[in-house]
Symmetry: C2
Subunit: 194 residues, 2 copies
């Protein structure tokens, strides 16, 4: 076993819960099933996670954090906003392509009342505050249209979810340069000044 690849029982529970919550939904998945599929006893599951709700919560926050780390480390701001936006767009899309289960988890739980509003807000702000700053910068430079801040941010999120669903449904198209560049063009043109 290589260094860092040790899968603890706790991690096995999180991995299995991710898969089952995506395919069957939260209430549609029993803790007994998660434990069985993960190869642990129900008592072990409740040793690591005090309740089923807290298992979902920890899973949600860890996946969001993983996403935020992945895209922020991929971008080195150099002043050219369009280039930065392009790097960010492709880093975010690449992460989604490489982590289809986690992307599906976002689609299902990012706006579901099953996850507490406060938990979703916490995850959103720690990630999208960073996006909001980029948009304000673009407006100050006269590159981006002067639309309401929140509307532009929500629109970014919506276009991202649509693009990831598109490339997840048609993986071969992700290999084509004109498909990738078209997805960025839709994203950028929506906000760019004419």
């Amino acid at each position: 076993m290589t260094a860092g690849s040790k899968r603890t029982k706790k991690q096995a529970i999180l991995d299995t819960a991710l898969q089952l919550f995506v395919s069957q939904g939260f209430h549609g998945t029993s803790t007994a099933t998660i434990a069985r599929e993960a190869g642990v006893a129900t008592g072990t599951l409740f040793h690591h996670f005090p309740s089923k709700e807290q298992l979902l919560e920890q899973l949600f926050l860890s996946v969001k954090q993983e996403f935020a780390d992945a895209i922020q480390s991929a971008v080195n701001k150099r002043g050219d906003l369009k280039k930065d936006a392009e790097q960010l767009w492709f880093a975010a899309l690449s992460w989604a392509i490489d982590n289809p289960l986690k992307q599906a988890f976002f689609q299902l739980y990012s706006m579901s009342p099953t996850v507490e509003q406060s938990v979703r807000d916490q995850a959103m702000h720690s990630i999208l505050g960073f996006i909001g700053a980029l948009i304000r910068q673009g407006q100050a430079q006269g590159l981006l249209a002067d639309f309401p801040q929140d509307l532009m941010q929500d629109n970014c999120h919506g276009q991202y979810l649509a693009a990831t669903r598109y490339f997840a449904d048609h993986p071969e198209r992700w290999q084509q340069e004109h498909e990738r560049s078209a997805s960025f063009a839709l994203f950028w043109n929506a906000m760019a000044v004419r």
Copy 2:
């Protein structure tokens, strides 16, 4: 009681199921609770719907059909594509504003595995075929960018979901002309030729 306002028990079950499936999720809502809140017995629920799954299915298709009827009747194609798109955009947004519960239901179940893929496809094609035709028309006229058809369609859907979420979260902004026109500008500019 005015004409047409007669709420049958079957309709009461559908209305209550819509509300509870949105607030608690499908598996998080028991048939016993739906029946109690609707003011009927559990036996009555299973008289009208052979199973809980089929209740969800009938609800899903009826809400989608209602949406399709609402936006198609609001648009009278006159050859000016941008005007047609604008009418369609605001008809779709208005419907979402006026039916927040049904809009939330879409957000949660339009891409959830809880609803059978075949049922979701059936709903999608009977509605979005119509949108696809409009996009092809715009490309033929040189008004819309020549990006892949499916990508543009998915992008439309994503921007629509983002906009409805935005105005649902901030209802007062829907009253402001500059907010409404900004939402359409983001939508149109994404696809328009430069």
